[in-house]
Amino acid sequence: MSSVRHVRGFDIAKPLSIFTMVGVMLPLILLPLASIFIYGTSSGLDKFWQALIAPEAIFALQLSLVTSFWATLFNVIFGLFAAYVLTKYKFWGSNALTVIISLPTAIPTAVAGFSLLLLWGPYGLLGRFTDQYFHIMFTAFAIILANIFVTFPLAFGVIKPVFETMSQSLEEASATMGATRWQTFWHVTLPSLRGAIVTGALLTFARAIGEFGSTILVSGNLASRTQTAPLYIFAKFNEGQVEAANAIAIVLALFSFFIFSVLFFAQSWLDKK
């Protein structure tokens, strides 16, 4: 800081830098977000409401919520389990596993969807044997699988560091007091992870509900059957029904705002207790 010239009174650097920052954010982030609200409500709230309660739209929102829910549930439980195993036990290949679990962050979602197709599709590696008994691709299950794939590392990534910093002596104290492993996990370990679990779940859910790239490949994008909310936006826009697309876009945007506010404001509360 010694190179900065400190002047008594008005410091021009402050308003200038804030102005620049907002100036960059405005066209890149703030205006696009604002425009969906401005456009979506420009032809009246009534129209907006009609677009929202269209059966296809409701179905798309529901499908998104349900598939994201299952993907979140799976990834939180698995993330918790994987974090437990990888911090408790050191074994040959444990570092490699940590890297592999984190890998999906780096894979383009279209590639994720494509690879699922190559595995479970009718001519896929496994799909060619299973296709005669049941179908996975182009069903809601495919959407869940795709969601699991792309959100795989999120909960794990939040929970593992908490496990690592958690004092081992808490669990040992619990054991000396007479607790079984399971009792210790339930009464001591899990409460310490509450904040991380909630954060991990919200991140996973938020990411899953907006997933597009992988879903469009594996779902088949059939309206009222396998069309999630983001796919609905894309489809309606392509059909020229901009209001319909916009209504759902607003819902998704509000939903993300909501999740991030919860994350932001509840974080300190969750960590404390």
Partner: protein
Amino acid sequence: MNIAASFTDISKKFGETSILEDINFDVSEGEIVVLLGASGSGKTTILRIIAGLENCNTGKVILHGKDVTELPARERGVGVIFQNYALFPQMTVEKNIGYGLKLRKKSKNEINKKVDELIELVHLEEHRQKYPSQLSGGQQQRVAIARALAYNPEILLFDEPFSALDAQIRQKLRREIRHLLKQINVPAIFITHDQEEALEIGDRIAVLNQGKIEQIGTPFDVYNKPSTEYVATFLGTANLILGVVNNGVFEAENIDLKLTDDLFFKNGQSVKLIFRPEDVFLRHPENLTQNYQKLIDGWIEEISFVGAFERITVRINFKNGQLITFTRPKTETENFPLQIRQKLEIGLVRFRIIPNFPLTHERSAKVY
């Protein structure tokens, strides 16, 4: 006295490194045994073996007559007060204390009653609904003790419980803990690297050096009758003079000191004379203590004032000009002031002779 716990021939290796060797001691009912040793001497490892958090390679852990060596920690019923207390951060003081009883499927009523009783015992009435992060270090420690007492532990184990607190609080807590332990009469093992703490808290002290117990005895004995040089120097300042024993007399250059203790040494055996700074007496006409022996003459090299007493460095009448230090209380300082280069006759009130082992591995042979 009834034996509450005993540990026999315990040894432990981590990989190829031997961490503990031949650990043998027991704790009587209501007794406080202190494990005193430098950092890394294996104190925590002994405690973890007793608690069942670590296996031992050989040896037995016996609690109230029952061999628990093969039992997991949760079946041993031992109370551990960890170095950082390890209170459960999401539980209130009450919940922390009641946890052991809840695990034992006690009724709500029974738990509440016991928790009330313990909260009163450790004086935490106003804090019962607080979380550990809202408590001071001393209060957290009392919760940790109450929590361990809730399920009537076989023995209490303290792992340096004061190391996280500042010096002044430490002194106060020492007395509190000793008082509490005597009140409830539960046997305890107390770990520390602080010799003053050990002397104040322990009924007996086991001095640990590199995984071996060098000596175990009352604070008076380990301080005044150290059986090894390590014990002598670890428990305070000690003067050491090399010599030999002949017919019950310690001989060195200009020293002939008659041995008073019935220790058995071969004639001509190489030994060390050990004495503490406060066990030195000066000869002057007014100061006629009956029970001291003349050691040697010397000349005062340095006098320093150390608050409650005076510390004096003396060059004794040896060819090598060896220095020894002694201390004397304020009353004497005022009545008989000393000057630098003054000649003195030095006598000893209390001293100790230990075998001199030139090689450390020979140290394991002890004097009894």
